[in-house]
Amino acid sequence: MHKESAIRTPLILDSKTYHQITEDVCAPVEGKANRLWYIAFTISAITALWGLGCITYTIGRGIGVWGLNTTVGWAWDITNFVWWVGIGHAGTLISAVLLLFRQKWRMAINRSAEAMTIFAVIMAALFPGIHMGRIWMAYWVFPLPNTFGSLWVNFNSPLLWDVFAISTYFSVSLVFWYIGLIPDFATIRDRAQRAIPKKIYSILAFGWSGNAKAWIRFEEVSLVLAGLATPLVFSVHSIVSMDFATSVIPGWHTTIFPPYFVAGAIFSGFAMVQTLLLMVRKVVSLEAYITPKHIEYMNIVIIITGSMVGVAYLTELFIAWYSGVEYEQYAFLNRATGPYWWAYWSMMTCNVITPQIFWFKKIRTSLMASFIISIFVNIGMWFERFVIIVTSLHRDFIPSNWSMFHPTFVDIGIFIGTIGIFFTLFLLYSRTFPVLALNELKSILKSSGNNYKSKQNH
C-alpha cells in the first residue's frame, strides 16, 4: 500500500471508518430529504419550467423574440453555450487528468465534478440547438446519409467540428462517469431495503460483484478512459474557440484562442465545482470528505488558470496594438472603452483581479471567501464570452452596421432557465446518486484518513 508522509494534511477528517464512509455517502440516497433540499428543488424546478417556457416560445414564434439583430447575430445564446461548455471542463479534468497524475484529493470531488460536467454539457448542447432558426432541421448538421443526392455537411465549418467535439466529449464523459458509478451503485443496491429501489440500483450496477477481478478491470478501464478523456479536455474548448478564431471578425480572428479558451474553461469549471461543492458539503454533511484542503487545492488551480487567462487578455491587447491593423486595434480599444466597457471591466475584475487574492493562504483556505470568489469567477467567465461575442460583432468593419445588443426577457429567461434545469438535475442527482466516489475514497482511507494518519504519528 501506498505510504503517505505524515505531515501531509489528511484528506479524510473526523476518524472515519470504512463503514462510516458508506453510511455518510448513502445517507442522502436512503434518507428523507430535508426542508432545504425541497426549497432549493422547488425554486430550481420553477426556474427550469420558466426557461423551458421561454424556449418553447422561441421555437414557436422565432428567434426574433430574442434581442439579436442583423449586426449581432449571436449574443446570449452562444455566450451561454460557451459558458456551459467551459463549466463542463472541470469534471473530466479532475477525473481524468488528476487520475493520471495520481492526485488522491480528486476522489472526494470527482463524482460531483463529473455530474456537473454532464449536466453542464447538456445545458451547453441545448443552445446550438435552440439558437437555430429552424431547430426542426437540426439533424442536418450530422453527416447522415440522405436522399437529397450528394448533399453533405460542410466539413470546413467550425460549427460542424463543434458537433463532433461536443458529442464525443459528452459520450466519453458520460461513460467515464458511469463506469465510476458502478461499484457505488452496487453498494447502494446491497443496502437497499425496498424492492423497487433495489431493482433499479441492481440494474444500474450492471451485476457488480466486487471481486478482485472486477476491481482490476475497473481500474484498467478507468485508466484507459482517463487516457481517452484527457485529450478531449483540451480538444473541446480548442474547437469551440475555433468558431471564433477561424472567422474574419476583428476580436474573433485570433490564434491565441485555443489555449486561452482551454485555460478559461478549466478556470470556470473549477469555479463552478467550487460553488457546488461548498454548498453540497454543507447540505449533505460531507465536511469530513470535502475538506478545506480540497478547497485550497482547487483554489490553486483557479489562481493558475486565472493568471493564464489574464496573460491571454493582455497578450490580445498587445497583439492588437502590435499588428497595426486598424480594425483589430479599434476592436480592442472599443472593448475597453466603448459602449460595452462595463462588460469588459466586469470580466477583467472578476477573472483577473479577484482570483489573485488567493495568493494569500488565509483567503484560499477560507471557505466563505472561496465561495464568493468562485461566484465572481462564474460571472466573470460569462462576461468573457459575452465580451468576445458581442463587443466584437457590434462594431466590426463597417461603421454603418454598428449597433447595440439589448437582451429581451426571453434571453434572460432562457439563461436563468438553464441554471434552473442544471440545479434541478444536480439536486435530483444528489438525492439518488452517491455524491462521492465512496469505494474509491475507501482506497485512500488508510493512507490519507485522519485517524490512520494520527495513528502513524503515535
Binding site: 414564434r61 442583423t70 432558426g133 486598424e326 472599443n334 466590426d396 454603418s400 439589448h406
Partner: protein, 1051 residues
C-alpha cells in the same frame, strides 16, 4: 360479308366450356377471402353483425379523420381560352406612364399572369430616359391597397354606380339650370384628353363663351406658384422652363431639391448623375448648394452653404451682384448673411465658376417666392443659360397650380358662391395652410364630390365619392413637357368597383362614351396630323401605345422669348431676414407630399440623409441640440419629444440630429400624418403650419418657438453610427488630387506581408483554392459613388423584385431591417485623420461635423470570391457558383446565423419571424394582406422563418437573361441583363454585367483607376466594385484635417 364477326378469347369460350362459363361470371379467377376478412359470418347470412358494424364505424371514422387532416386544396384554374399574349411563367411588359401631380415617369410595367408586379423606366422616353424614382417604382404596391375605395359612396355609405350617377346628374343639372357655380379642384393636369373631358364637362355649366360658372382650379401641394408668377412677369408666360442638367457644368441650387422633389426629379437624376462621373479628360460638373435643411440634393453638393431660409434671398441677390459686377451690370439691393460656414466665400466661388461656364450652367431655385425666382431668372439670363441649359420652348407642364387661384376659390366658397365642388387627386383639407380655412369653406358648398381613388381627408368630407381607378387600371395620355406625350394604359382590370374619373365626368356631362373612346377620338383628330408618315390612325395608335410615348421635337424654336429683368424691383420686395428660430417644412425623398404615405415600401425606405423610417421628426443640428436633446438615438435611447409652436398651431415631434442643418433652424417633413400603419397615422401633419406669403404658400417659416416636453419617443433609424471612423469604406478624393496625382496616392491597393516578409498584392495571397471564376461568366457590379445620389430607387426596386418583407418601425429599431440592399450615408467628422496617420481620437471621430460633407454608398452582398460566409455554414446552405455568385439555398438553411456574423459587410438578413404570418407584421408587411400579396414576384421564393437571406444579384433575372441569349444563340449581350437595382438606377451608378466579357461595360469599369473593392485588405475578393468618389473641390476635408496636427508639430 358477314358484319357480325365474332372473336373469341380462347377455345374454351368458343366451345362454351361449362368450366369457362362458370369462371367468366367471376371477375376474379381466384377466390378472394372477403368473408373471412370481414368476419366470421354465416355463409348465407348477409346481415351485418354488431362486430362488423363497429369495424365499419371505426374504419369510417379513421378515414374521415385522415381525410380531414389533408391540407386545404388551393385550386388554380387554367384558362379556358388562353389569352394569346400570356404564357404562364413569362412576364409581359407594357409601356405606360406615371403621374400623380408630383412625379412623372415614363414606365414599363412588368406583369406576370396578368398581375402588374414591377415598374421600371421606359428607355424610349426622352423625358425621363429610363430613370425613375423610388416613389414611382413603389407605386405598383398602391394598386393592391385594400384601403382604396372599393365602391362609390354616398354620404359615407356604399352605393352603386347607377344610383350615384342618377343622383349626381340630377344635382348637377339643377345647378346648371339655375346658373350656379361648379369648381373642379385637382392637381396639375397636363393630359390633353383629360383636359378635353373636363372642358366637355364644364360646357354643361359654361353655356356662354367666357362664362365662369365652371372653372378648373389646379392646386399643387408642393407649390411652384412663385416660380410661375415670376416667369409670367419676366417672360410674359406663366410656365416653367425645362432644365437640362446634362449640359450643365456648374449647378448652383438655392434650396432646389432637384434630385428628390423639385419639378421633374426623375429626369434630373439621370442627367445630373451622368455629369458627375469624371469624363476622359477628368472633368466633372461642380455643384453648389445653399439651403437650411440638409436635403438629398444638398448632401450631394461639392460645396454646400447652410443658410437660414429667410436669408436665401440674400444668397440670390449676392450671387446676382457678384456676377453682375463682373459683367459690368448694375447691382441690386442685397443684405448680409449670418454666416458660420463661409457662405460668402462659397457664393463668390460659385459666381466665379458660373462666369467661366456661361451658357453651360444652371442656377435653380426652390423657394416659392416670386421675388427670389425673378432674381434667379435674372442670373440665368446674365449667364446666357436660356436657350442653352434652360429651355423655354419646351416648358414643363407638371406644375400649373397658382396659389392665388386656390385662395380665391376658398374665398368664393366661404361667400357661398360655389354650389358644387369636385375634388380630384389632391387633398386640400390636409395640405392647405390652416389659416386659409378650407375645411370651414367646404361646409358652405352644397354638393361635394370626390373623384379620388383612395380615402383622403377631403374625400371623407365629401357627400359623394366616385372613386377613380388606380393608374395601372386606367387609360390616359400625358404631356409632361413641350411636345412630349406619353400614354398610360391599363395593365389589369379594375380590382374594385371603380371608374375612371374622366369617364365619370363624361358620363355626368351626358357623354355616354367611355374615356378610352373619347381619348382615341381626341388623338385621331389632334395628334395624328402631327405624326410624320403615319397615314392611318390604327397603326399610329398601336405604335404609340406600344412605345408608351409620342414625341414631336419642335423643328425650330417658337422664337426667342423676351426677357424683362425684374431683379432690382424683386430685390426691393425681399423680406428682411429674421433672427429668431426658423422652421423649414420640407418634402422628404420617400414620402414627398404624402399622397403615397400609406405605401409600406416607401415608409420603410430610409430618409436619404437621416436614415429615419416610419416617422417625421424635428431635424436639428446637433450643435443646437447640445446636451438638452438626445443626439445619438438608438434602440434604448429614444428621441426627446419637443413641441413646435407657430401661429397658434402646435405639434409635438421627436427631435432627431441632422448635421448640416443650419444652426438656428429646424426642419419637419410634410406628407406625414396621412398614411396609416394599421389604424395608426404615421407621423404628424405639419402642412397646416405653412403660411401664405405674398399670395404664395410658403413652407419656410419664422417666428417659431420650440420647447422640450420632457417625454421620450422611440424613433427608428436604419443607421445609428454616422461617421466612417477614418476607414477606407468610401474611398474619397478631390478632383485636384485625382487629376494630378497617381492612383496610389488616392486609391492605394492593399499590400499584405507574406510569411517571408515580402509585401504582396492581396490577389496573390490565398488561403483557399480559387473558385473557377476565370472562365465563363463572372457576374458583378460596379457602383459609382460619384453618380450615386442616394435617392433610394434601387432599394424599393429590390424590395419589389425580391419579395423583401417590410418589418415596421419596432423591428427597424432593433436593427432588423430586411432590405437586401441599403444605402449607407456617412458624414465627415472634424476629427477624421487621414488613413493610418495622425493620432486617432475615436470618441471625437464618432461625432459628425456641424456642417459635414456627405457620402452615400449602396451596399448589398458583395458576392465575395473568398466568401467568409461560405466556409462557416455547417450544412453548406450558402455556396459559390462558378459564375461568381454567392448563392443562398433557403431550403437547406438551418439558421445558425454564423454566416451573418462572419460577413464583414453584415449584408445577410435573417428571418427573425414568420413575416408572412406573424401577428406583429399584419399592419406593415404587404405579404400578409390578401390582396397586396399579389405584388409578390412569383420567380422569387417567399422565405420562411429561421432562414438566412441576402442579395442574390437577382439570380432569377440572370437565369432568364441567359436563357434568352441561348434562344438567340449568342453570348449574353452587354446590358441585356439588369438587376432590379441597376434597372432602377438606369445604369447611372449601378452597372451590372459579366466581368469576364470584355464587351461588357463592367469589364472596363473594374479596371478603371477609380475602381476598388471594399475591405480589400481582408482578402475576400468581392465581385462588387466601387468607383472612388471624386469631390469637385481642391482638397477633401480629411486631407485638410491631417495637415493641422502636422503643422502644430513643426511649430
Amino acid at each position: 360479308m358477314n358484319s357480325s364477326k365474332k372473336y373469341w378469347n380462347s377455345l374454351e369460350q368458343l366451345n362454351n366450356d361449362p368450366e369457362f362459363v362458370k369462371s367468366a361470371n367471376n371477375e376474379f379467377s381466384e377466390h378472394i377471402p372477403v368473408d373471412e376478412f370481414v368476419g366470421k359470418q354465416k355463409e348465407n347470412g348477409n346481415a351485418t353483425s354488431r362486430r362488423d358494424f363497429l369495424k365499419f364505424l371505426g374504419f369510417s371514422i379513421t378515414a374521415a379523420t385522415l381525410a380531414a387532416c389533408e391540407a386545404p386544396v388551393m385550386k388554380s384554374i387554367p384558362y379556358v381560352v388562353k389569352p394569346e399574349e400570356i404564357t404562364p411563367g413569362v412576364p409581359n411588359y407594357y409601356a405606360s406612364s406615371y403621374y400623380d401631380g408630383n412625379d412623372y415617369g415614363s414606365i414599363l410595367v412588368k406583369t406576370r399572369e396578368g398581375r402588374p408586379i414591377f415598374i421600371e423606366g421606359n428607355k424610349m422616353s426622352n423625358v425621363t430616359k429610363g430613370r425613375l424614382t423610388a416613389r414611382i417604382n413603389s407605386s405598383v404596391l398602391s394598386l393592391y391597397d385594400s384601403r382604396r375605395y372599393n365602391a362609390p359612396k354616398v354620404n359615407g355609405e356604399d352605393a352603386d354606380w347607377t344610383a350615384i350617377d342618377v343622383d349626381v346628374k340630377s344635382k348637377l343639372n339643377g345647378i346648371a339650370a339655375k346658373g350656379g357655380n361648379v369648381r373642379l379642384l385637382s392637381y396639375s393636369i397636363n393630359s390633353p384628353s383629360t383636359l378635353a373631358a373636363i372642358e366637355s364637362f364644364g360646357s354643361k355649366f359654361n353655356l356662354e363663351e367666357g362664362s365662369t360658372n365652371f372653372k378648373h382650379v389646379q392646386y399643387d401641394a408642393i407649390s411652384y406658384s412663385g416660380m410661375l408668377e415670376a416667369n409670367e412677369k419676366d417672360f410674359g408666360k406663366s410656365m416653367i422652363p425645362d432644365y437640362d442638367f446634362s449640359k450643365a457644368n456648374v449647378v448652383v441650387s438655392i434650396d432646389a431639391d432637384f434630385l428628390s422633389n423639385w419639378l421633374m426629379s426623375s429626369a434630373y437624376l439621370n442627367d445630373y448623375s451622368k455629369k458627375r462621373i469624371p469624363n476622359a479628360d477628368k472633368k466633372m460638373s461642380k455643384h453648389y448648394h445653399f439651403e437650411a435643411l440638409m436635403s438629398l440634393t444638398g448632401s450631394n453638393a461639392d460645396v454646400r452653404g447652410a443658410v437660414k431660409p429667410s436669408e436665401l434671398g440674400v444668397v440670390a441677390t449676392s450671387l446676382y451682384n457678384k456676377i453682375a459686377s463682373s459683367l459690368g451690370e448694375s447691382s441690386i439691393k442685397s443684405g448680409s448673411i449670418n454666416d458660420d460656414n463661409g457662405v460668402e466665400d462659397k457664393i463668390a466661388s460659385a459666381a466665379k465658376d458660373l462666369l467661366s461656364n456661361k451658357g453651360k450652367s444652371i442656377v435653380a431655385c426652390g423657394v416659392n417666392d416670386p421675388n427670389i425666382q425673378s432674381i434667379v431668372n435674372a442670373i440665368n439670363n446674365l449667364l446666357g443659360n436660356y436657350g442653352n441649359t434652360i429651355d423655354l420652348n419646351n416648358p414643363i407642364k407638371l406644375k400649373n397650380g397658382r396659389d392665388a387661384e386656390v385662395i380665391n376659390l376658398i374665398s368664393e366658397m366661404k361667400s357661398g358662391k360655389i354650389d358644387g365642388l369636385l375634388v380630384y387627386g389632391c387633398d386640400p383639407s390636409y395640405s392647405l395652410p390652416a389659416e386659409l380655412g378650407f375645411n370651414e369653406a367646404m361646409e358652405k358648398v352644397g354638393l361635394t364630390i370626390s373623384l379620388d381613388c383612395k380615402p383622403t381627408f377631403t374625400s371623407e368630407k365629401c357627400s359623394y365619392v366616385a372613386p377613380d381607378n388606380n393608374f395601372l387600371e386606367s387609360w390616359n395620355d400625358l404631356n409632361p413637357k413641350g411636345n412630349y406625350y406619353s400614354i398610360q394604359q391599363p395593365t389589369i382590370n379594375p380590382l374594385y368597383s371603380t371608374r375612371q374619373m374622366q369617364t365619370s365626368l363624361l358620363s355626368w356631362a351626358g357623354n355616354s362614351n367611355d374615356f378610352y373612346d373619347f381619348m382615341r377620338k381626341n388623338w385621331e383628330t389632334n395628334m395624328l396630323p402631327l405624326a410624320d408618315g403615319m397615314p392611318f390612325f390604327d397603326g399610329f395608335w398601336n405604335q404609340v401605345v406600344h412605345d408608351g410615348i409620342f414625341e414631336i421635337k419642335p423643328t425650330q424654336p417658337e422664337g426667342e422669348v423676351s426677357f424683362t429683368n425684374n431683379a432690382s424691383s424683386a430685390a426691393q420686395g425681399l423680406k428682411s431676414s429674421d433672427s429668431g428660430l426658423e422652421l423649414v417644412l420640407y418634402a422628404s425623398n420617400a414620402i414627398a407630399d404624402g399622397s403615397n404615405g400609406e405605401n409600406p415600401w416607401l415608409q420603410e425606405l430610409p430618409d436619404a440623409v437621416t436614415k429615419v423610417v416610419w416617422d417625421n421628426y424635428i431635424a436639428m443640428n446637433p450643435v443646437d441640440m447640445g446636451s438638452e436633446y438626445e443626439v445619438k438615438t438608438a434602440q434604448e435611447t429614444p428621441a426627446d419629444l419637443a413641441k413646435v409652436l407657430i401661429g397658434g398651431l402646435e405639434v409635438s415631434l421627436p427631435v432627431v440630429a441632422s448635421p448640416g442643418q443650419k444652426i438656428g433652424t429646424i426642419g419637419i417633413a410634410i406628407g406625414y400624418g396621412k398614411g396609416k400603419a394599421g389604424k395608426e397615422l404615421i407621423g404628424k401633419n405639419v402642412f397646416p403650419m405653412s403660411t401664405v406669403n405674398n399670395g404664395n404658400i410658403s413652407r419656410n417659416l419664422s417666428g417659431v418657438t420650440i420647447e422640450k416636453t420632457g417625454e421620450k419617443f422611440p424613433i427608428a433609424s436604419t443607421q445609428t453610427h454616422h461617421t466612417m471612423m477614418g476607414r477606407k469604406i468610401v474611398n474619397e478624393t478631390s478632383l485636384e488630387t485625382y487629376k494630378s496625382k497617381t492612383r496610389e496616392t488616392w486609391n492605394e491597393s492593399a499590400l499584405l506581408v507574406d510569411a517571408f516578409g515580402r509585401k504582396k498584392p492581396i490577389e496573390e495571397l490565398n488561403l483557399w483554392n480559387e473558385h473557377p471564376i476565370a472562365q465563363g461568366h463572372r457576374w458583378g457590379m460596379s457602383i459609382d459613388l460619384n453618380a450615386c445620389t442616394g435617392c433610394g430607387a434601387c432599394v424599393t426596386a429590390c424590395h419589389a423584385e425580391n419579395n423583401v418583407p417590410v418589418v415596421g418601425k419596432d423591428e427597424v429599431r432593433r436593427t432588423r431591417t430586411m432590405s437586401w440592399m441599403r444605402i449607407d450615408r456617412y458624414y465627415s467628422s472634424d476629427a477624421d485623420p487621414k488613413r493610418n496617420e495622425g493620432k486617432k481620437d475615436y470618441q471625437a471621430m464618432e461625432n459628425p461635423a456641424a456642417y459635414p460633407e456627405v457620402v452615400y454608398q449602396p451596399l448589398m452582398c458583395q458576392h465575395c470570391n473568398h466568401a467568409p460566409c461560405e466556409t462557416v455554414c455547417p450544412v453548406a446552405a450558402t455556396t459559390h457558383s462558378n459564375e461568381g455568385l454567392n448563392q443562398m439555398t433557403y431550403n437547406r438553411c438551418v439558421g445558425t446565423r454564423y454566416c451573418a456574423n462572419n460577413c464583414p459587410f453584415k449584408v445577410r438578413r435573417f428571418n427573425w419571424f414568420n413575416y408572412v404570418a406573424d401577428e406583429k407584421f399584419v399592419d406593415v408587411n404587404p405579404a400578409q394582406d390578401e390582396l397586396m400579396r399579389m405584388v409578390l414576384n412569383p420567380d422569387v421564393t417567399v422565405r420562411s422563418r429561421g432562414v438566412m437571406e441576402k442579395c442574390s444579384m437577382c439570380v432569377q433575372r440572370i437565369q432568364a437573361g441567359k436563357l434568352e441569349a441561348k434562344k438567340k444563340s449568342e453570348p449574353v449581350q452587354n446590358g441585356a441583363i439588369k438587376t432590379a437595382c441597376s434597372a432602377a438606377c438606369n445604369d447611372n451608378a449601378i452597372v451590372f454585367g459579366d466581368i469576364n466579357d470584355e464587351k461588357h461595360t463592367i469589364w472596363s469599369l473594374v479596371k478603371d483607376e477609380r475602381s476598388y473593392n471594399m475591405l480589400e485588405e481582408i482578402g475576400v475578393k468581392p465581385n462588387i466594385y466601387y468607383q472612388t468618389k471624386v469631390r469637385n473641390v481642391p482638397t477633401p476635408s480629411y486631407e485638410k484635417n491631417i495637415e493641422k496636427p502636422v503643422e502644430e508639430h513643426s511649430a
